[in-house]
Symmetry: C2
Subunit: 193 residues, 2 copies
């Protein structure tokens, strides 16, 4: 998606540790009108008439997933991290490693809100090593639901998480795949044909 690549180049910042900061429009301050255009772009890759549920993980995926769900008239569920008092039993769980927080985190989705016949699209703002999305896939499989695919805004292609998901047969589409990120030089993988 050209607009997304342009904004990564013009507004993104490359920090040590292969961190690409796009917190001015994607994951701290959110340009919600832009999120709506990203949601529209996903229609090139997914048939939303055959999707029942949009699933993401807290926290930064929620804004894009909510706007995508609104755009297509679908419900959205976000997996919670760790355990709070407001979630009792009856949970699907998946343990992932959070590279952001450098610790194990458990993703939780109530069995009330994902069902065996649901056709589920995963939506996330950012894909690096793909741990959160791997955990969400596990939850979809555990529920006996159908994983239609994954729609992601930005993927760090050089970290390999997205390609591992593709090799596992998952229908993953990222709208901007970064192959190289150095200060002043961000290179993208060519768009899909």
């Amino acid at each position: 998606m050209q607009e997304l690549k342009d904004r990564i180049v013009s507004e993104g910042r490359v920090l040590p540790g292969n961190i690409i900061k796009v917190d001015g429009f994607l994951n701290h301050r959110i340009d919600c009108a832009f999120m709506d255009r990203i949601a529209e772009e996903f229609s090139k890759y997914f048939d939303f008439s055959k999707i029942d549920l949009i699933l993401t993980a807290e926290a930064s995926g929620i804004a894009l997933a909510a706007i995508c769900a609104l755009h297509y008239g679908k419900p959205m569920v976000f997996a919670k991290k760790a355990k709070s008092d407001n979630i009792e039993g009856g949970l699907y769980q998946s343990e992932i490693f959070s590279y952001t927080y450098k610790k194990k985190v458990t993703l939780l989705v109530s069995k009330d809100w994902i069902h065996p016949n649901d056709r589920v699209l995963l939506v996330d703002d950012f894909l690096a090593r793909g741990e959160a999305l791997r955990g969400l896939c596990e939850i979809v499989y555990a529920a006996g639901a159908e994983l239609v695919g994954i729609g992601c805004a930005i993927e760090k292609g050089f970290q390999g998480g997205g390609d591992r998901l593709r090799e596992a047969g998952i229908n993953l589409h990222s709208l901007a795949i970064i192959e190289k990120a150095e200060p002043g030089n961000i290179e993208f993988r060519p768009d899909e044909a």
Copy 2:
């Protein structure tokens, strides 16, 4: 807001510890079309032409705040909890007590994304003791920005957090204020005149 009260009564569940679960439409599974109607309802109380920024706290406030921001064409910022590698210096911070997680949590907003002249509306899905909103108010004041008010979906009036904010002179409007919550009996504060 009658639709909100109706759904609290028909879909909400009262759990021990004064917990009111509305996770089927508000804070786990999200009915995004309904969030858009809640966003529209806020226009009865706030002049969005005079608001520059919508601010919330992760995680469950993000969906409503994002849809509200999209509805009115505003940017949205969510305060992050605790410290991750992706947020370096230059932060406004406020320490709050999370009754959900029974521990202190620090709310963080980058100084890049809230400015002295911003007219800020806080939006949240749920107000109980009001700790998260108190922390967000502190961040708005620390930034020298203008706090226009707080728009909240559900308030647990009997826990007093909302009334404390009102007594502090804050222009707070909640669309459903629960005064009593027992299994099978949920009572609301009468609507504002």
